[in-house]
Every structure is written in structure tokens, then in C-alpha cells.
């Protein structure tokens, strides 16, 4: 071969290589910038029947389940048109499927289907007949059997959005959700042996519809959204008839249909690059005119319920100087219950009710002022004042003491510091004080003073102090640690019975550790402790005198919930084609009651502990560029010593299994394919 021929050959070879390299490079770039689409299909196995592990996923029965997930995304580069199809849990009751078609910046629409099951943790064993119907018969079947208590929500929604000329957009959206199933229910009654309680099922059969339309405008200065929202709730089973025993509580009303219409205008305006204002005005008209399930003696066939709500909000924030920012916000909501009042229960007025329906109106005004000042050395100080007042109506006769007005003022102060790029922190203190108008007392028949020993929790005088500290520490390039501590204390004043005080603490530490370029780890530990002291007495007289005897004591319960939880995770890619990961989560919650003195016929409530351990492992092995295999193992254990259901038998003989100890292994294998 001549030198010239060799050079030609070399030239050709090099050219071919260069093309190959360029093509590989282009392929790598294309892969990195092109939307990915994946499809996963496989099978999972649940080792044991349960009501906790699969409570919201449907993985409640021992056996095999198909596992199908998809995330298909395709973009036409020339037109910017996306077609997406995303599905999750497609083989399970908790399946979700969404289709989007969008020309980005022009128009888009979607259709979404979503199911959410909920399995009650508990299993009644009952002789109730026709539990899914509106005509239930207590002890209507001869042999008690287990009843699965479950609801299933099926939601279908769709929407369209379009961009009009200029800066205008519009959108419409509709959703319809059916909720069916069973919920624990019951009724009381009285017979020869006294009063009793019976087990029933709330035969849920709801449809909830929401439809929205909006038009929006946006430019650099002004943004506006005008919206209409309509809602409609329909209960296909509004009445429950119960037979089989001596109880007279039948029929029982189930939730009535209701509907609403709302118009709203929301906006924001930038006065400058440092000053912005926002507002919202909304008016809602809500009605409830479902046909009564039973005869009314006032000549009405429905309530004629009508509630209007006016909501107004306006606020502004401005960076007045390089270091000082001020913010102010005011909210006002007037919920006006205009339901006509009738003496539905044409009874002699008692000390707790007149017999009339009681429309509930409430006006809430909430204001906020805040100053943020950037100090030297990376400190930022924030001071704030919040004010809230609520004005409510009430009826002329009431069952608890009532306040038509409450006011609460809160002062806040916070100091933050970005100490360095590796250490930052904040400490905040909050004090709030709530009071209100004079108490409207309960009365006895004839108008005398009734029992007024308790301040209802949301109306009571209250002093609240809260201290919160945060610290973030990037210990090294590889280690981040964050600490949080909250301490809160409430003191209720004025009356000897009811809630007296409360205290809450929360501590958390979170750490992230990038051990190597291949392995990362996270861990966290949290605790919380919530206490409150409740006083009451047995058998107070109608005028509020507690006997305070051994038989009918004035008692106190120091209610306390303590929780501790721990989590840890590990992620790694030890080989190019292999991903490994694992998570461990453990939590323990304890409820304590610490009661005394007790009624002589009563034994104190034991503590209750709930424990849950969840351990997950997964591995993903790439078979080739397109295909991978994903394996997953989950161990889930729930334990409790809750005595609530274990010690109770309904008057009709129904018992409810608490299912206090559950252990499940779940194994799954999925083939993942990249399209």
C-alpha cells in the first residue's frame, strides 16, 4: 500500500470515528435533555390480612396484587406539545390515572381519575341486618358475623386552560367524587334495664361536585384572578330507619344535600420593585334545602338554610430601606347564617334549648403588622403584632356558657442569624393573650342562673407563651445537622372547671450524611410531649353546685400524650447499574390520663401505647439501557394496648375487634421499562 493510500484509509477511519464520537455525544445530550418515559409492571405479595398497613392503599388482604405504574411523557419539540399519561398503583384500590395534553403556553387540558380507600382499623362482629341499606334491623340476623368497615372515594376531574391574547388566561375545571361505604355509627335507647347503646352502620353514599371557572390577567405590575366556584353535595341515603329493638331513635337523619356558589377576585400589584400589595374579595352563597326526612310540625318541608359569607383581605409589604421591611395585612370574614328560625321542637322551653333552630353567624377580623430589620453581622430581627376578634351570635337559652366576642392579641419577636455558610439559627418568642366580652350564662327554667362552671376551650381567657429555637449546622461538606426545639405553655383563667392549662414541647434533630459519592444516609429523631389539665365534677346541680363527695367527686385528669419517633435512610449506587436503598421508621405514642379522685364505681383508665415499625428495602438493577428490575421488601408492624374496644359490648351484643397487633411482610418485583 502506498503512503497516499494509507493516508486516505487513515482519513476515512478517523472521519468514521469522529462521526461515531459526535453521534455518541449527541445521543448522551439527547438522553439528558429529553423527557423520560417509564413503564413499570410487576407483582406484589401481602403476607397477612391487615387493616393498618393497607388502610389507604387497599393492600389489606393476604395475597398477590398487580403493581402497575407508568409515567409516559412525550414532547413534540417543534410545537411544544406535551402528551403525558401518568398512573400510580394501577393494580390497587388506590389507583390514580391522569392524562394531560398541552401545547405549552397556548392551551392544555387534563382528565384525572383517583381512588382512595379507607379501611377502618376495627372489625365489628354483629347481628345487624342490612348494614349497607337505609333500613337496618338490630339483631336482624341469627348469627353474628364480621363486618368490614370501609369507604372508597372515586374522584373524576377534568379541566381546560387556555392562554388568550395579551396577558390573559382562562381555565375551567370540574370534579365529581363518589364516596361509598360503611362508617361506625350507633344510637341509644332505653328499655326495662335502663338506657343502652346499639351498633349501627352509617351507609355512606355521597356525591360531591366542584366546578370552577377563572379568568386571569398578569403583567409585571398587576396580577388578577377572577373566579367562580360552585359546589354541590348530594347524599343518596339521607335517612336511616332502624328497627328490631325498643329504641325510639328512628328515623335518624344522615347529612343533608347542600350547595354553594362563590365569586372571588384576587389580585396583586407591584408599586415598585420593593413594594407590593395583595387583596382578595369573595362572596359565597350557600344553601341547604334538602327535603326533611321526617315530619315537621312547623309546616316546613325543608330548613331553607341560607348562609352568605363575605371575605375581604388586603395587605401590603414594602422594603422601606435596604434593611427595613414592613408588612401589614387585614382579613375580614362575615359568615352570616340567614336560615329562617322556627320553633321546630314545639316543646316547653328547657334550661338548654328553646326548641328553635339556632343559626350560627360569626364575624372574624384578623390584623397583622410585622417589621423585619436586617442588622449587622448577618442578624435579622422580626417583630410582629397580630390581632384577632371573633363576634358570634347565640340563642337566648344555651347549654354552655357563651361569649359573643373574643379578642386575642399576639406579640412576636424573632432573631435569625445566618452565622456563616455552615451555621445558621433562629430563636423566636410569642406571647398571646385572649379575652372577651362578659359571659352569657346558662339559665334554669324560669330564668335563674344555671351551671356556669366551665369556660369552653375556644372562648376561654387564655395566656399563651411559645419559644422556638432552630439551629442548622453544615458540619462539613458531607454532613448537615438541624435541630428544632419548641416549648409552649397555655394558661386558662377564670373558672375552676374545664381546661386549666396546657403545655407542649417538641424536639427534633435531623442529619444528612453523604458518606461517599456512592452512599448517602439520613437520620432523624423527634419527640413531643403534650399535657393538659382538665377539671370537672360529677352530678352538678342545675345551678352549678358540685356535690364534691366521694360518691360524686370533683375530679381532675392530667391528660398527656408523649411521642418519640426515629427514622433512618440509606441510598447508594454501589455499581453503575445497581441502586440500593433502605428506610427504617419507628414510632411510639403513649396517651396517659392520670385521673383523680375517681367515682367509686369506676376504675381509672390505663395508659395506651401505639407502636409502629416500618422497614423498607429496595434494589434496582439495570438489565440494559432500557430495562431494569426493581425489588422491594416492606415490613410493617403495628402494636397497641388500646383497651377501648376490647372492653366494650354494645347493648345489642355487637363487639368490635380492635385488631391491636398486626404484622405484614410485603414483597414486590417490578420490571421497569424506559420508552
Amino acid at each position: 500500500m502506498s503512503a497516499r493510500s494509507a493516508a486516505r484509509l487513515g482519513l476515512l477511519a478517523l472521519a468514521a470515528c469522529a462521526r461515531l464520537w459526535a453521534a455518541e455525544e449527541d445521543e448522551e445530550i439527547r438522553a439528558q435533555k429529553t423527557p423520560e418515559a417509564t413503564l413499570g409492571a410487576g407483582i406484589g405479595y401481602v403476607s397477612d390480612n391487615n387493616t393498618r398497613f393497607g388502610q389507604y392503599t387497599g393492600l389489606t388482604k393476604q395475597g398477590l396484587y398487580p403493581l402497575i405504574d407508568l409515567d409516559l411523557r412525550k414532547r413534540d419539540e417543534a410545537s411544544g406539545t406535551w402528551i403525558n399519561l401518568q398512573g400510580r398503583n394501577l393494580g390497587l384500590e388506590s389507583n390514580e390515572l391522569r392524562f394531560d395534553h398541552e401545547r405549552q403556553g397556548k392551551w392544555g387540558y387534563f382528565i384525572d381519575y383517583n381512588q382512595t380507600p379507607r379501611y377502618s382499623p376495627y372489625t365489628p362482629v354483629t347481628r345487624l341486618a342490612n348494614p349497607d341499606s337505609t333500613s337496618q334491623v338490630v339483631n336482624g340476623v341469627a348469627v353474628p358475623s364480621e363486618l368490614e368497615m370501609k369507604t372508597l372515594r372515586k374522584a373524576l376531574s377534568a379541566g381546560f386552560e387556555g392562554r388568550l391574547t395579551g396577558n390573559w388566561n382562562f381555565g375551567v375545571r370540574f370534579s365529581s367524587e363518589d364516596k361509598d361505604g360503611r362508617r361506625l355509627f350507633g344510637r341509644s335507647g332505653s328499655g326495662a334495664t335502663g338506657s343502652f347503646q346499639e351498633f349501627l352502620v352509617d351507609p355512606i353514599d355521597y356525591t360531591t361536585r366542584i366546578w370552577e371557572a377563572n379568568a386571569s390577567y398578569a403583567d409585571k405590575k398587576l396580577q388578577l384572578v377572577a373566579a367562580y366556584t360552585g359546589t354541590n353535595f348530594e347524599n343518596h341515603k339521607p335517612r336511616l330507619d332502624v328497627s328490631g329493638t325498643t329504641s325510639t331513635f328512628s328515623p335518624i337523619a344522615l347529612p343533608p344535600d347542600n350547595q354553594s356558589h362563590q365569586l372571588a377576585l384576587t389580585g396583586g400589584y407591584n408599586f415598585s420593585s420593593t413594594t407590593r400589595s395583595t387583596f382578595k374579595a369573595a362572596y359565597t352563597y350557600q344553601t341547604q334545602d334538602a327535603t326533611f326526612i321526617d315530619t315537621s310540625t312547623v309546616g316546613r318541608t325543608d330548613l331553607g338554610g341560607k348562609v352568605t359569607t363575605l371575605f375581604l383581605q388586603g395587605g401590603a409589604t414594602s422594603r422601606l430601606t435596604r434593611d427595613l421591611t414592613l408588612l401589614g395585612n387585614l382579613r375580614y370574614e362575615n359568615r352570616d347564617d340567614k336560615t329562617p328560625v322556627y320553633d321546630y321542637f314545639n316543646i316547653t322551653t328547657t334550661n338548654t334549648a328553646t326548641g328553635e333552630n339556632e343559626p350560627r353567624s360569626i364575624k372574624t377580623t384578623n390584623g397583622k403588622l410585622e417589621a423585619i430589620y436586617r442588622l449587622a453581622n448577618g442578624y435579622t430581627a422580626t417583630g410582629g403584632l397580630d390581632y384577632e376578634t371573633k363576634v358570634r351570635n347565640t340563642s337566648s337559652v344555651r347549654v354552655v356558657s357563651f361569649r359573643d366576642k373574643t379578642e386575642e392579641t399576639t406579640l412576636r419577636a424573632e432573631l435569625r442569624r445566618l452565622m456563616s455558610q455552615t451555621l445558621n439559627g433562629s430563636i423566636a418568642f410569642l406571647h398571646s393573650s385572649r379575652g372577651g366580652s362578659d359571659w352569657q350564662t346558662t339559665t334554669v327554667v324560669g330564668g335563674g342562673l344555671g351551671s356556669n362552671l366551665v369556660q369552653p376551650i375556644h372562648l376561654a381567657d387564655r395566656e399563651r407563651n411559645l419559644l422556638r429555637g432552630k439551629l442548622g449546622w453544615a458540619a462539613s461538606e458531607r454532613v448537615d445537622v438541624n435541630f428544632v426545639a419548641d416549648l409552649a405553655k397555655d394558661e386558662y383563667g377564670g373558672r375552676a372547671l374545664g381546661l386549666q392549662d396546657g403545655k407542649a414541647t417538641h424536639f427534633a434533630v435531623d442529619a444528612g450524611f453523604r458518606a461517599t459519592d456512592v452512599w448517602t444516609a439520613t437520620a432523624w429523631l423527634s419527640t413531643d410531649d403534650n399535657k393538659m389539665t382538665l377539671n370537672s365534677c360529677e352530678a352538678a346541680s342545675g345551678t352549678g353546685v358540685c356535690p364534691g363527695t366521694a360518691a360524686d367527686p370533683i375530679w381532675q385528669a392530667k391528660l398527656r400524650n408523649t411521642g418519640i419517633a426515629f427514622g433512618a435512610g440509606l441510598r447508594g449506587k454501589p455499581r453503575e447499574r445497581l441502586e440500593l436503598g433502605g428506610d427504617l421508621q419507628w414510632m411510639s405514642d403513649t396517651a396517659k390520663y392520670d385521673q383523680g379522685p375517681l367515682d367509686p364505681n369506676v376504675q381509672p383508665l390505663p395508659d395506651v401505647t401505639f407502636k409502629r415499625t416500618t422497614f423498607k428495602l429496595y434494589a434496582k438493577q439495570a438489565v440494559d439501557k432500557k430495562m431494569s428490575l426493581r425489588a422491594q421488601y416492606v415490613f410493617d408492624r403495628f402494636q397497641s394496648d388500646d383497651w377501648n374496644w376490647a372492653n366494650y359490648t354494645y347493648g345489642d351484643g355487637t363487639v368490635v375487634l380492635p385488631n391491636n397487633s398486626q404484622k405484614v411482610h410485603f414483597i414486590a418485583l417490578q420490571l421497569m421499562y424506559s420508552l
Binding site: L11, Q104, T116, P255, D294, N357, R360, D510, N601
Partner: protein, 304 residues
């Protein structure tokens, strides 16, 4: 030697799509050649993955260039990376949070983000990129199943609650924080998606809305007086076990002040019958309100 030079020249020319005189070509975004010359497919940080996102849809004339977000960064380019870009978004970046966020708000200040400037997140210097990842197809905070973990990195107390035995299906990935809260700020309280707590709850629990023939005042005022929506050790997300919860408001007359406990004499006596099962709700079963107009005295107590 001459042949070798020719070879190298040809190979180089073949490897280029465009003549070198035109400058480096764009790989993903308009005018990104100056950036992707270095930050290319071999970069440790997946810069080009922005092409998988809506920010990388070139047919949409609104989509940004690298410099739309990171600034012209001339010093960075001239110094071949030895100087920082003008605007950086990483956790430890020196760029002030307000500057970072202004970059995003330049295009994203409308719609659900109108109230951002008034939100607690904004005033506490939370950066958009504290939660959002821009250079990835999978922005975790926008995925229902992953979003809570992003929120829990700060809201650790809520992480405790959603793992309690009674909880919304957050840990199961069926409800996300953003179903109730708008992290970008809202006109209503607690950054809720609706104007009030009750309106937010009614989105899914509209059967509780009423009004009813008999209404229960705290129900109409605020669902959160009795329920903790983030989770509870008590069933039904209740803040306290019955009868204690009811005794926080109700006078101790009649059976209402009865001692909670095991045992007892049955009926409405202190002990098990007012404590166990559904507690007070064993009898007062329609506690959220009843629309039964029947003219009997017991009707006022939510029993039918």
C-alpha cells in the same frame, strides 16, 4: 506530517455541526452555548436535564435562557469558572434569597403565587429552591408521594403527627400537604388553599357543612377545635379522647361531668358507658349536626 495535519483538521471539522466561527452551539436553551461549552453532558450536576422540564420547551417563547436565571455572569465566563455566576441558588449560595426569588417571581408571580410576598415563607427568607428543584424532570415537591418529605425537612412536628395511628393518608401518598396548604401564600389563615379552616375541610368533607336544624356551635366555627388534621393518637383525628374532649366545653350537670373510666353502672353513669367505643357519640351520634325536624325533646341532642 502534512497528511496527519490534514487528518486532524478534517476530523475536527466533522465533529462540529457548525463552523467554529459561529461559537459554541446551543444544547438545550436559547443562547446556552456560552454555558454548556463547560456545563455539558459530562457535568457532575445534571445541568442539561432542564431540557426535560417545561423550562426546556423551546417552542414556548416564554422559556428562559441560562442567563435569565443565573445572570449574565460575564466574570464567571471570562474567568472560565474561577469566578461565581451572578446568581446562584444552592443552599449555601451567597446570592441573597430575595434576589433568587425575584428571579422566579419575574415569571411566576401570578395565579396561586399572588400572595407569596405576604406569606410566612417569604418573610422568613425561604428560597423557592429550598423546596423546588429546577434542573430535573422529577421535582419532588410537585409529586404527591414525595412532597411531604420536602415539607417535613422544616416542619418536623408535623412529621410526628402524620405518623400517628389516626391520620390523613399522607404517608400513603394519597394526600399531600398542598391539598390543604398553599406554600406560596394565600389570603386565608395558615396559608390554607381556602379562605378559612372550615372551607378547606369542606372540600372533601362537605357533608359536615350544613346548616342543620340542630347545629353544634364549635362545628360551625372551626373544625380544628376538636380535630387535629395532621394526626392524632385518638381515632378520627380527635384532639382528646371522649368524654374528656366534650368536657372541655360542657357543664358537669346531669351525666356530663361523669368520670371517665372502666367499669361503672352502665347507661349514662360514670365509667365505661360514657368512655368506651364512641364515647359520648354512642348516643349523640350526629355530633356535627342533625337535620331531623321531628318534634321530640331529645332531638336537640344530636341523637336522631
Amino acid at each position: 506530517m502534512r497528511a496527519l495535519l490534514v487528518l486532524l483538521w478534517v476530523a475536527n471539522a466533522l465533529a462540529q455541526d457548525k463552523p467554529a466561527a459561529d461559537g459554541p452551539k446551543d444544547l438545550v436553551l436559547r443562547g446556552d452555548g456560552a454555558c454548556t461549552r463547560c456545563h455539558n453532558e459530562g457535568d457532575n450536576y445534571p445541568v442539561l436535564a432542564i431540557g426535560k422540564t417545561k423550562h426546556g420547551t423551546m417552542a414556548d417563547g416564554r422559556t428562559p435562557s441560562c442567563t435569565s436565571c443565573h445572570g449574565a455572569s460575564e466574570a464567571h465566563i471570562k474567568a472560565k469558572g474561577n469566578e461565581k455566576p451572578d446568581v446562584l441558588f444552592s443552599k449555601k449560595a451567597a446570592t441573597p434569597v430575595q434576589v433568587r426569588n425575584a428571579t422566579c417571581l419575574n415569571c411566576h408571580e401570578s395565579g396561586k403565587r399572588i400572595h407569596w410576598a405576604m406569606s410566612v415563607h417569604a418573610t422568613r427568607d425561604i428560597a423557592c429552591t429550598s423546596c423546588h428543584e429546577v434542573h430535573t424532570q422529577h421535582d419532588r415537591v410537585r409529586a404527591k408521594a414525595d412532597q411531604p418529605d420536602v415539607c417535613f425537612s422544616c416542619h418536623t412536628e408535623i412529621r410526628m403527627m402524620v405518623n400517628r395511628q389516626s391520620h390523613h393518608p399522607v404517608r400513603e401518598g394519597k394526600v399531600a400537604c398542598s391539598d390543604c396548604h398553599n406554600a406560596h401564600g394565600s389570603a386565608g389563615e395558615k396559608m390554607l388553599v381556602k379562605d378559612s379552616i372550615n372551607e378547606t375541610c369542606y372540600s372533601c368533607h362537605m357533608e359536615k357543612r350544613g346548616p342543620f336544624v340542630r347545629t353544634h356551635q364549635p362545628v360551625q366555627e372551626n373544625c380544628a377545635l376538636c380535630h387535629n388534621p395532621h394526626g392524632s393518637v385518638q381515632d378520627n383525628l380527635l384532639k382528646a379522647r371522649g368524654p374528656f374532649l366534650c368536657q372541655e366545653c360542657h357543664e358537669p350537670t346531669s351525666h356530663r361531668g361523669g368520670t371517665a373510666g372502666l367499669g361503672g353502672l352502665g347507661g349514662t353513669s360514670p365509667g365505661a358507658s360514657i368512655t368506651l367505643a364512641r364515647s359520648c357519640l354512642n348516643c349523640h351520634t350526629n355530633i356535627h349536626g342533625t337535620n331531623n325536624p321531628r318534634d321530640v325533646s331529645n332531638e336537640r341532642t344530636f341523637r336522631r
